[in-house]
């Protein structure tokens, strides 16, 4: 009979020890590549050169904000981006930590700011943006000197007067001399390798104090043509088949009167000033100086010179002015979020007094604060998929009501008129992609009103000051625990057509209604 034996057992033990594997490597497997897979990193040093910061309650007020923009989605006025691809924050305590005793960090609730004559300081800290997908990026930034920046709210997500702006720029010396900044383009090549990708040592310089507040505005007056426009307390409605009554160079006054125009006044109405100036809204209103909106010339072709070439896309006679006015279609489900794809924009026409005066501005520099600006609403919508190389400009009618061509055709262009080809070329240059002009009804929906300065400072209506969040109990004057500013709840609505048959024959292009 067989029985267990020590000899067999020991033999098996030896065999087992001999057969056991050793130190095999553990395989790499990333179950969620979108969350922990290889990604890009941009990092470097941010150097601040400017006035000493304010302090309060033992802390430095404000923070340095470093923003990474996908070059395909640059912010206005250069592009259509609605937000940065990434954002890093260096708190003032960290950035200015090296100043030590030079900062008064007394914790007594008193705000302590430098005197105008105090010498500037230069400090630096590191910044880092990750994870980033493959792409080409520009780095911009600013130091939020007054501590009023908050990326969560559109009313606080951009720098204001006194903040010190800059970025990773190639022409820092020229910029200090007044030239427009030229931002470095930093590439994370596609595909990101398995090890990840990193571009280090990127120097970001913040040294340009911003002279202007954001262009806070409200709609003070609606100058509507005889037909095609309606309005209520919270919206101005333009029919999707809106047709200009007159649009000819021979009758500039009539052409202007044919446009829907909005007079946008700086700040908020008097009745809202007290609420607007108080936290948490804290708009720059109610104090001295009174809020203004500043007209300036646009360097459209970015050649560093203001001249006759810097005109609006649809007319060589009308200079392009700041603040740029743009009406951006809003998401159907969120009253404050811009529709991302396709982006649908109605480019406003910034008018200095009137069209004739505007056309007469010539090449002279312009830097004029005013209580209000006048913008005209072109019955034309740009439909762009932010990352696609093509877009369309849909114009509601080919002619005005009198039969004059809105944009002259190729024959007239050959004769020297500013026509369709010129507009397409101008828009193609402006947006960095091929733009084709088509005729059809405008995309219906709600459009936010935007005013944008050359510094990128902008203001949008509607915004959180006028629109309650879903979790805030809403009333006419309040949203939960804070006041509501009705003036900041206004939209332009492209409404149903007055003549549905026309829209049936000239439908809104598909590029304006669906993603590719």
């Amino acid at each position: 009979m067989l029985r267990p034996t020590p000899r067999t057992g020991l033999s098996l033990l030896g065999a087992l020890l001999a057969a056991l594997p050793g130190c095999e490597a553990v395989d790499v497997f990333i179950p969620l590549p979108d969350h922990s897979g290889p990604a890009g990193v941009l990092d470097g040093t941010v150097t601040y050169a400017g006035p000493r910061p304010c302090t309060k309650d033992g802390h430095v007020v404000g923070a340095a904000v470093v923003l990474g923009f996908d070059t395909r989605l640059l912010p206005p006025p250069e592009g259509l981006g609605t937000s940065a691809a990434s954002l890093d924050v260096i708190p003032g305590d960290e950035l200015f930590g090296g100043l030590g005793a030079a900062l008064d960090l007394t914790s007594d609730g008193v705000l302590r700011c430098p005197e105008p004559g105090d010498p500037p300081v230069t400090v630096s800290a590191t910044w880092r943006l990750s994870p980033l997908p493959a792409g080409t990026y520009q780095i911009r930034g600013f130091y939020d000197h007054d501590g009023d920046f908050d990326p969560t709210f559109s009313i606080a997500n951009l720098p204001s007067r006194g903040d010190v702006a800059g970025g990773a720029i190639e022409n820092a010396t020229e910029v200090l001399g007044g030239a427009a900044p030229r931002y470095r383009e930093l590439t994370l090549a596609a595909p990101i390798p398995a090890t990840g990708a990193r571009v280090s040592g990127i120097a970001v310089t913040l040294g340009l104090p911003l002279p202007l507040e954001r262009p806070v505005f409200h709609v003070a007056e609606v100058l509507a043509p005889a037909s095609g426009v309606g309005q209520s307390s919270s919206e101005v409605v333009m029919a999707s088949d809106f047709q200009l009554e007159t649009f000819t160079l021979a009758d500039p006054v009539g052409a202007e009167a044919s446009l829907l125009r909005l007079r946008l006044a700086a700040g908020v109405p008097d009745r809202e000033v007290a609420s607007a100036a108080m936290p948490p809204i804290s708009l720059p209103v109610g104090g001295e100086p009174a809020p203004t909106l500043t007209y300036a010339r646009q360097d459209v072709n970015r050649d560093g010179a203001i001249d006759a070439d810097d005109h609006v896309p649809d007319s060589a006679q009308i200079p392009a002015l700041f603040p740029i006015s743009v009406f951006a279609k809003l998401d159907d489900h969120d009253p404050l979020v811009r529709q991302a794809a396709p982006a649908v924009l109605l480019q406003g026409l910034t008018i200095y007094d009137d069209l004739v005066t505007t056309a007469m501005l010539g090449a002279a520099p312009l830097d004029e604060p005013r209580e209000s600006v006048l913008v005209g609403v072109r019955p034309a919508a740009l439909c762009l998929h932010p990352t696609e190389p093509k877009g369309v400009l849909v114009i509601s009618h080919e002619t005005d009501a009198a039969g004059n061509a809105i944009l002259p055709g190729p024959e007239d262009e050959d004769a020297g008129a500013w026509g369709v080809r010129d507009v397409e070329e101008a828009l193609t240059r402006q947006f960095g992609r091929t733009i084709e002009v088509v005729y059809g009804c405008l995309p219906e929906g709600r459009y936010a009103l935007n005013l944008i300065y050359g510094t990128g400072q902008a203001w949008t209506v509607p915004n959180e000051a006028g629109v309650c969040a879903p979790s805030e109990s809403a009333s006419t004057d309040t949203c939960g625990a804070r006041p509501r500013l009705a003036s900041q709840d206004m939209v332009l609505r492209i409404g149903p057509p007055d003549d549905p048959t026309y829209c049936a024959q000239h439908p809104t292009p598909e590029a304006c209604t669906s993603s590719p």
């Binding site: 009979m1 029985r3 267990p4 034996t5 020590p6 067999t8 057992g9 033999s11 098996l12 033990l13 065999a15 087992l16 057969a19 056991l20 594997p21 050793g22 130190c23 490597a25 553990v26 395989d27 790499v28 497997f29 179950p31 969620l32 969350h35 922990s36 290889p38 990604a39 890009g40 990193v41 990092d43 923070a63 470093v66 940065a84 990434s86 954002l87 924050v89 260096i90 708190p91 880092r128 943006l129 990750s130 994870p131 908050d150 990326p151 969560t152 398995a194 090890t195 990840g196 990708a197 936290p279 948490p280 809204i281 969040a469 979790s471 805030e472 949203c479 939960g480 625990a481 804070r482």
Partner: protein
């Protein structure tokens, strides 16, 4: 056996071929790479041995058969054969009562010398009635002396052969099991031949020794379902046992993998150090639906509500059995016994021998356990210590990643655990005992948290100390447990934090229970359990609110098991729990009706409710979580500053269950269970809400000076709005077709639906497999070779998981394909069963399917692992 060398790691000589045949030789694989042929060869080898040698059936069943036969024969005054049968039973599974009955039968038969020897053996096992037994021995010795004196002139009888006792202690997993020879007789102890009977003694001796102990000592008992020992046939809940034999033959060193064979159990390994277990569905990362106990003491961590199985202070070599109560148990155990209870019962102090087991496997798997156990009079102890190392199945971070910062933990390590555990008992008198114990473990684990906390490192030191007093009518117990940990993400993108923190927990638990059996009215036997409980919970972690209070939980429970005659039992249970966070009492009732058509069949119908109260993390989380944009964060908090009145309700389950258990035959047993669960108020991560200006007006939001990031929103936990009615069932059985061969199989069905109340748009979750099948074969042979093969199948799953996406947390559906898991072990015992070497393979089918095995959509890919072990008992 030629095929044995292909089973695992060169066990060429492990299986002496009893009858080599051409067929057996043909089973030798020509290529070692042919896994299927290997497994087939193993099966052939084991089958051939079984058929050729007539091996051994399930030990408990075999012992029971011999015990019953022996007692029947003794009752018929066929003492010699009856005693022989009892000896066989005691050889297979030693038990003091069997020795007592042997002694008693000898005395009744007039074999005074053998009776005295057997009584001494019985007394040596230190039974509670040892004083009485000692007096019996004294009387028998007097009788024997008188007998000898009366027969002095006659030639002296040759002395009876001294019986070789099987040992006073029960075998334990750490011991080599007692194994009869191929002929069924003890290998190392001959059955003592009865001495020539004396003509005068029998009647008198029978009067001394009293009645036989006929209760079935080999009947399986469970203690968890009713807080007292009872047969599964009498249990008010469906209860499954993972036995010593299952543990030893499986070769598993992970407790969750032992539980996988239980019908309806959901087991998933996410990483090498993170196993999550649930019952009848609702498994999850940081699974918290199952109450896990070690000897009745909770071992979950109250911070997360989960159980880190690889951080216990015991290992599988210290386990006597694992009781799994399938279905809610809040009626006796309060919060967290939501879907079921797993109670790990360790080997009693003083039971079993000292020994060690050491194992090593590929990818640097390591296992070591050493234990010693002894009894000295009324005092007994068991001391164990061990070390375990499991690698990750796969790792997420390659060494050359330049976009990440990593923790200091080895990227290959899944779990590492060093542990020591001491338990001791002191008998205070009949049925009175004092038990004390303490355990300590230190672990490094790679686990998967929730939300953005995937691939997470946890180092934890666990300490516990307990004191218990047990008597016939009063049981009291208190214990203290402490966790001190260090936690952080395994890796984060550069510029993002690892969220280092130090979770700590102090628990003081006290229970007092009064037990009484009485008749009222006379035909009805009541078994009363009345208890009070108190639990102090103090937790802190940098992830939690600084103002989190120390919680004082209280409870009272009552159970009355009313036996209405032999066939019908009504069980009514109820418990009230005071939950400080909720500031209210939560009732948990349970009712069962048990009808037994025969003593070994039971039909059970029961209904109950259970709840799971929010964990410390769910109730008090207060953690800024950085978003993909490094300068932004949202504050994860269930009690935001502007909504401090928010309270999360406990998760709720209502269950109705019906089952039929048949243990009528000694050759098979089976159970059928059907249940209906209605689950509501599941606690999940809340979709973050953007910060509002109203919140800014109240001082919340803006630049967080502590983190240097802007707070863009609020997150936390909330009760999920949908409801899950679940209809399911389990069918399982075990068959003993031949001695030494056990076959078990079970099937679980889970049909989970989703109800969406108005306004609720939660995604449907299909994380529970509709079909689960477990099957296995266990073989034990007299030539020293033991083995087991288990197969587990789970149908596909669809997980609705929450993941961070940009500035929000999104819920997505992740599909997980069906999978099959095949595990096997082959062992060889030698040196009189004191030594055993074995080899195991986990997930033997790896690489044969279309996709690598994943048990969770975010988990590691589970590969194949081999381990070899050496065990030695002193």
């Amino acid at each position: 056996m030629s095929s044995s060398d292909s089973c695992s790691h060169g066990l060429r000589d492990a299986v002496p071929a009893p009858a080599p045949t051409n067929d057996a030789r043909a089973a030798r694989p020509r290529s070692g790479a042919a896994l299927g042929r290997r497994l087939f060869a193993c099966a052939v080898a084991l089958g051939a041995m079984t058929a050729a040698r007539g091996a051994l059936a399930d030990a408990r069943t075999e012992a029971r058969v011999h015990f019953r036969a022996g007692m029947d024969l003794i009752a018929q005054k066929q003492f010699d054969e009856g005693i022989r049968q009892l000896h066989k039973a005691n050889e297979i599974l030693p038990h003091p009562n069997v020795v007592f009955n042997i002694a008693r039968a000898h005395a009744e038969a007039g074999h005074l010398e053998q009776a005295i020897a057997a009584y001494r053996e019985y007394i040596a096992s230190d039974p509670p009635d040892r004083e009485l037994a000692t007096r019996v021995v004294e009387q028998l010795e007097q009788r024997l002396a008188a007998q000898r004196a009366a027969t002095a002139p006659e030639p002296k009888q040759p002395p009876a052969p001294e019986p070789q006792p099987p040992g006073p202690q029960q075998a334990a997993p750490g011991d080599a099991p007692a194994q009869p020879t191929a002929e069924g007789a003890p290998a190392n102890a001959a059955v003592p031949a009865p001495a020539p009977a004396s003509s005068a003694a029998p009647v008198d001796a029978a009067g001394i020794v009293g009645a036989a102990r006929t209760e079935d000592v080999y009947q399986e008992t469970v203690i968890t379902a009713s807080r007292g020992a009872q047969s599964p046939l009498d249990s008010p809940n469906s209860t499954t046992l993972v036995t010593r034999q299952d543990i030893r033959l499986s070769g598993m060193t992970r407790i969750p993998e032992l539980l996988r064979r239980v019908a309806g159990m959901d087991v998933m390994q996410i990483t090498g150090g993170d196993e999550n277990v649930s019952m009848r569905g609702f498994n999850s990362r940081l699974a918290n639906k199952l109450l896990v106990l070690v000897n009745g003491r909770t071992v979950k961590n109250d911070v997360l509500g989960s159980t880190f199985w690889e951080a216990l202070s015991i290992d599988v070599d210290q386990i006597e059995r694992i009781e799994v109560v399938r279905g809610p148990g809040s009626a006796l155990y309060g919060a967290d016994a939501f879907a079921g209870i797993v109670n790990i019962i360790t080997i009693e102090p003083g039971v079993g021998k000292s020994g060690f087991r050491a194992g090593y496997g590929d990818h640097q798997q390591g296992y070591g356990s050493v234990w010693t156990s002894a009894r000295e009079g009324d005092f007994a102890y068991r001391l164990s210590a061990g070390y375990t190392r499991y690698p990750r199945w796969t790792r997420e971070v390659a060494d050359d990643r330049i976009d990440l910062e990593t923790s200091g933990q080895s990227q290959d390590l899944g779990a590492q655990n060093v542990r020591i555990d001491l338990r001791a008992t002191q008998r205070l008198g009949p049925q009175r005992e004092l038990a004390v114990g303490a355990g300590y473990s230190r672990s490094e684990l790679d686990v998967y948290g929730i939300g953005p906390f995937n691939d997470y490192n946890l180092e934890a030191a666990n300490t516990d100390a307990s004191v218990a007093y047990r008597s016939e009518n009063v049981n009291a117990r208190t214990y203290y447990s402490h966790i001190d940990g260090y936690s952080q993400l395994n890796a984060a993108y550069l510029g993002h934090p690892l969220y280092a923190g130090r979770p700590r927990q102090h628990i003081v638990n006290a229970e007092l229970e009064f037990v009484k059996t009485l008749r009222a009215p006379a035909p009805v036997v009541h078994d009363f359990h009345i208890g009070l409980g108190y639990r102090l919970k103090a937790t802190d972690w940098s992830y939690l609110d600084d103002d989190m209070p120390i919680e004082h939980h209280g409870s009272v429970f009552l159970q009355d098991s009313m036996k209405l005659g032999e066939r019908v039992t009504l069980v009514a249970s109820g418990r009230l729990d005071y939950v400080p966070y909720l500031e209210r009492l939560i009732p948990s009732p349970r009712g069962s009706v048990i009808v037994k058509p025969t003593p070994r069949q039971a039909i059970r119908v029961s209904g109950s409710t259970a709840f799971r109260s929010p964990t410390s993390l769910e109730a008090y989380v207060d953690l800024p979580i950085q978003l993909a944009l490094p300068g932004l964060e949202f504050l994860s908090t269930t009690r935001p500053p502007v909504r401090s009145d928010v309270i999360i309700d406990p998760e709720q389950i209502i269950t109705a269950e019906a089952s039929y258990l048949n243990q009528q035959s000694d050759n098979f047993e089976f159970e059928v269970t059907a249940y209906y669960n209605r689950v509501s108020n599941l606690i999940v991560l809340a979709e973050p809400q953007r910060t509002t200006l109203s919140q800014r007006a109240q001082g919340f939001g803006g630049l967080n000076p502590e983190t240097g990031r802007y707070t863009s929103g609020l997150g936390g936990f909330e009760n999920q709005c949908d409801i899950y009615p679940v209809l399911g069932g389990e069918l399982g059985g075990r068959v003993y077709p031949a001695e030494g061969l056990d076959v078990f199989a079970n099937y679980a069905l889970n049909l989970s639906e989703q109800e969406l109340p108005a306004g609720c748009n939660a995604l449907k979750d299909g994380r529970t497999s509709q079909h689960k099948v477990n099957a296995g074969v266990q073989v034990r042979t007299p030539v020293g070779v033991d083995g087991e093969v288990t197969l587990h199948y789970q149908s596909k799953q669809e997980w609705a998981e929450q993941v961070p996406a940009g500035t929000v947390i999104d819920t997505h559906i992740y599909k997980l394909p069906a999978y099959t898991l095949l595990n096997a072990r082959l062992g060889y015992r030698f040196l009189n069963n004191r030594a055993e070497i074995s080899a195991t393979v986990f997930n033997a089918l790896d690489g044969l399917g279309d996709q690598p095995l994943q048990m969770h959509p975010f988990g590691n890919r589970i590969g194949r692992r081999f381990m070899g072990f050496l065990r030695y008992s002193l």
